[in-house]
């Protein structure tokens, strides 16, 4: 395929037919590969039974759709429709009133088929069943079953417990084996040791008609630890599927022009030399040079500039910029790995390496825990062996120590809290992409914001009061263009009835003109209206001219993101340092900083400058939370201690950040910090609880006073306390 395309680029333009033939083949191959019978669409707004019914009904009514099922938990719909593409079905859902986005089924494979999760659930079910039955028998033994009855009960317990431990304990054995092979002492080594030792010693005791058997403890260990493992797995799976969903949301397509034909192709398939068309409002998919057309370009995501830049034939454009007014034909100069987007990704990777790997609380606990437990168990074995010379007694006591210290509570301490905290954040509109993000977020003492697209929405708002006589013609003009300023003007003039105008014409990159009551009407750039370059000001502006009268200046300001003021105020009230870093000009940045009460602001900062500023802050000992959306923020997002980006952010920025804001509102950012601090406090409390139980129970075990009853009590009591403590996080609604 590569040589085909290379060949045809040289001949491009010489003979359209020669050109079209290999291209058609290429397109056919692409189409073949990109048409699965099953489609997955994201339905971000779905929330009730009515949504399910209307979405499914609308899809089923569409010819060619065989089956459709909404999954409300994941807010997705799976459609079986051979021959149809998402492009056919998104409008169907839109007509039914549902916002839908195409999801890349390839990116979702890991997330939807959660085999590992179901496998863990099955093991939990089996060990739960075994635990209940063994416990019934054990209670009988504890309450005084004697001689033959006790032996019989122990044998039945063994028959239930041994297969259960062998099956349900497999995740622990496997992971312990892996860590032993790597010559490390992971958390799972003492767990496996306890499981094996407890089972073995109990079987031995049973054959000798001993009094104590730990079958119930072994099975209970499996049960509680598997729950912790499952919660941990779910948090990870949700984070992974959130990340996959975000990547899949932007299935990037470009419009490829070959001869007279336009075809939609995946951006990944673009090659240098391809001619692509970018419609007004579309994002530039690859770096290129304008071959034809005039327009204005919004560079906000790349540079943070709010002012659109004019562009014409010969202008070089970068991937990620947005075309505003006129259709552009673009000759691709760099796509995929070579594009500026990919280069920025490299920058992000560098920044991530610099941040280094964060050691979570759980990892630190496990690191101290494993050696301590082994030493303790081995020590009590040696002690009792030396003291009494009774191997059987010494092994029994060592097993009891291992069982009692086993990290039931420790294994639940972190996953239970993280699960309930991320659930709470999700309901507030924040998706966590990284498991350690909560802990890092809790340590933050400095918050750095980007301006355009983060604190503001990047959508202008009309400030000027348009005189009554001009309102109707101005609206008529504004409706003739999709330029953001025109749309803002139209929105500002809502309620007016547009005047009847003729000869409405958009001049890409300049403005709009029309004839109204015999006079020429013009709305557009100052230089287009013959006014010469205007002074730099804090605001965006456009000009409206009627006939030969002096033009009227229309001022716009960027609209503040909802919740921005409350968020900044709350952060400052919590004693955090708030900094505004923007790539935009000084005047608008200063205005915004004054409006929000941010004292520390810097304007005109390059992407490298942002990353460097974050690095300087980190060197000074600050733990920085970066909130940004643009390409110019990605390096800073990746380099900061923790990072958040809004859902409207560019792909690269969302990939680089730990959390994504799903709504428009910025207020959850301040709440997230509070929840993260609460969660970390709960994790520490849980550690304290489980250590506390050990401090009480371990001396009994070492002294040889531990009974299976005591072990069962300590284990279940500590696990339940830890879980309840974690759930406290959910109950306290603020």
């Amino acid at each position: 395929m590569a040589d085909l395309s290379a060949g045809h680029h040289h001949r491009l333009g010489a003979c359209p037919a020669c050109d079209a033939a290999p291209l058609a083949q290429r397109l056919a191959e692409r189409a073949e590969a990109a048409r699965p019978a099953r489609l997955v669409l994201s339905l971000p707004d779905a929330h009730c039974a009515l949504c399910i019914t209307s979405a499914e009904r609308a899809l089923m009514a569409h010819p060619g759709v065989k089956a459709a099922r909404v999954n409300l938990t994941l807010r997705r719909v799976t459609i079986e429709a051979p021959g149809l593409t998402a492009l056919d079905l998104v409008p169907v859902l839109a007509r039914a009133g549902h916002e839908a986005h195409e999801l890349d089924p390839d990116a979702l494979v890991g997330a939807s088929a959660d085999r590992a999760g179901r496998d863990l659930l099955m093991r939990i079910g089996i060990s739960g069943f075994a635990m209940m039955n063994v416990m019934i028998l054990s209670v009988a033994v504890w309450s005084g079953a004697e001689a033959a009855t006790r032996d019989l009960f122990h044998w039945i317990s063994a028959a239930i417990a041994l297969p259960t431990v062998a099956f349900a304990g497999r995740p622990f054995f496997a992971s312990a084996w892996t860590s032993l092979k790597a010559r490390r002492l992971g958390m799972d080594v003492p767990i496996s040791l306890a499981l094996i030792l407890a089972s073995a010693i109990s079987v031995f005791e049973t054959t000798q008609s001993g009094h104590h058997a730990y079958f119930d403890a072994a099975v209970m260990l499996c049960f509680f630890l598997l729950i912790g493992r499952y919660l941990d797995h779910r948090t990870r799976a949700i984070a992974r599927s959130a990340a996959a969903e975000l990547t899949a949301l932007e299935v990037p397509r470009a419009t490829l022009i070959s001869g007279m034909v336009e075809r939609a192709v995946a951006v990944a398939d673009l090659r240098p030399g391809d001619l692509i068309r970018v419609r007004p409002g579309g994002r530039i998919p690859a770096d290129g040079i304008i071959a034809q057309g005039r327009s204005e370009i919004d560079r906000a995501l790349l540079t943070g500039e709010t002012m659109p830049v004019p562009a014409g034939p010969g202008t070089a454009l970068q991937a990620g910029e947005v075309n505003l007014t006129g259709p552009l034909d673009l000759r691709v100069t760099a796509a995929g790995q070579d594009s500026s987007l990919a280069r920025l990704t490299a920058l992000v990777e560098a920044a991530e390496t610099a941040r280094g790997r964060y050691t979570s609380l759980a990892e630190r606990a496990a690191r101290a825990y494993s050696p301590a437990v082994h030493l303790l168990a081995f020590g009590s074995f040696l002690g009792w062996l030396w003291g009494t010379g009774d191997v059987r007694l010494a092994v029994n006591i060592a097993a009891a120590v291992l069982i009692i210290t086993c990290p039931c509570a420790l294994g639940l301490a972190v996953p239970a809290v993280v699960t309930s905290a991320s659930g709470r954040l999700f309901r507030r509109g924040l998706l966590i992409k990284d498991g350690t993000a909560l802990e890092r977020l809790a340590e933050v003492d400095t918050v750095v914001f980007d301006k355009t697209g983060t604190l503001t929405l990047g959508q202008p708002l009309l400030l000027t009061d348009v005189p009554e006589v001009l309102r109707a013609p101005a609206l008529a003009l504004a409706q003739g263009s999709s330029h953001p300023l025109s749309r803002a003007l139209a929105e500002g003039l809502e309620g007016t009835i547009p005047a009847t105008v003729t000869d409405l014409c958009e001049h890409p990159g300049q403005g709009v003109s029309a004839i109204w009551q015999g006079q020429a009407l013009r709305l557009g750039r100052a230089d287009w209206l013959g006014l010469g370059p205007q002074q730099d000001s804090a605001t965006l502006s456009s000009w409206l001219a009627v006939g030969d009268q002096p033009p009227l200046r229309l001022d716009f300001s960027d609209r503040l993101r909802p919740g921005a003021e409350a968020c900044i105020a709350r952060l400052k009230a919590d004693g955090l340092r708030v900094i505004l870093l923007s790539g935009d000009r000084a005047a608008p940045v200063q205005a915004l900083a004054a409006q929000l009460g941010i004292e520390d602001w810097r304007a005109g900062i390059s992407p490298m400058g942002k990353a460097a500023a974050i690095a300087t802050l980190s060197d000074e000992g600050a733990r920085v939370l970066m909130v940004g959306d643009g390409l110019n923020d990605t390096a800073a997002l990746a380099g900061a201690h923790a990072s958040i980006s809004p859902a409207s952010a560019l792909d690269a920025a969302r990939v680089a950040s730990d959390m994504v804001l799903t709504g428009r509102d910025l207020a959850p950012v301040a709440e997230a910090l509070v929840i993260a601090r609460q969660a970390t406090r709960r994790i520490r409390e849980n550690f304290a609880i489980s250590i506390g139980y050990n401090v009480i129970a371990v001396p009994f075990a070492v002294m040889g006073l531990a009974t299976p009853l005591l072990a069962a009590l300590a284990m279940s009591a500590s696990s339940i306390t830890v879980t309840l403590n974690a759930l406290r996080l959910n109950g306290k609604a603020r």
Binding site: C48, A67, T73, L121, M122, F129, N133, I160
Partner: protein
């Protein structure tokens, strides 16, 4: 104590039935969309006749 010969197998069998039901539900993906299933109860779409096809998962 002879009653144990009956009671213990009975208790194991009852527990086994519960375990079997759980495993069946798991295999049939009954836990894929708990929120959606809760809401679907309220829909009257299939009240008169059952859904004709088996949906994709």
């Amino acid at each position: 104590m002879e009653i144990l010969v009956i009671l213990i197998p009975v208790s194991l069998a009852l527990g086994g039935v519960g375990l079997g039901a759980f495993l069946w539900a798991l295999r049939n993906r009954q836990f894929e969309d708990p929120k959606g299933d809760g809401e679907r109860v309220l829909s009257d779409r299939w009240d008169d006749h059952p859904r004709p096809d088996t949906p994709p998962d």
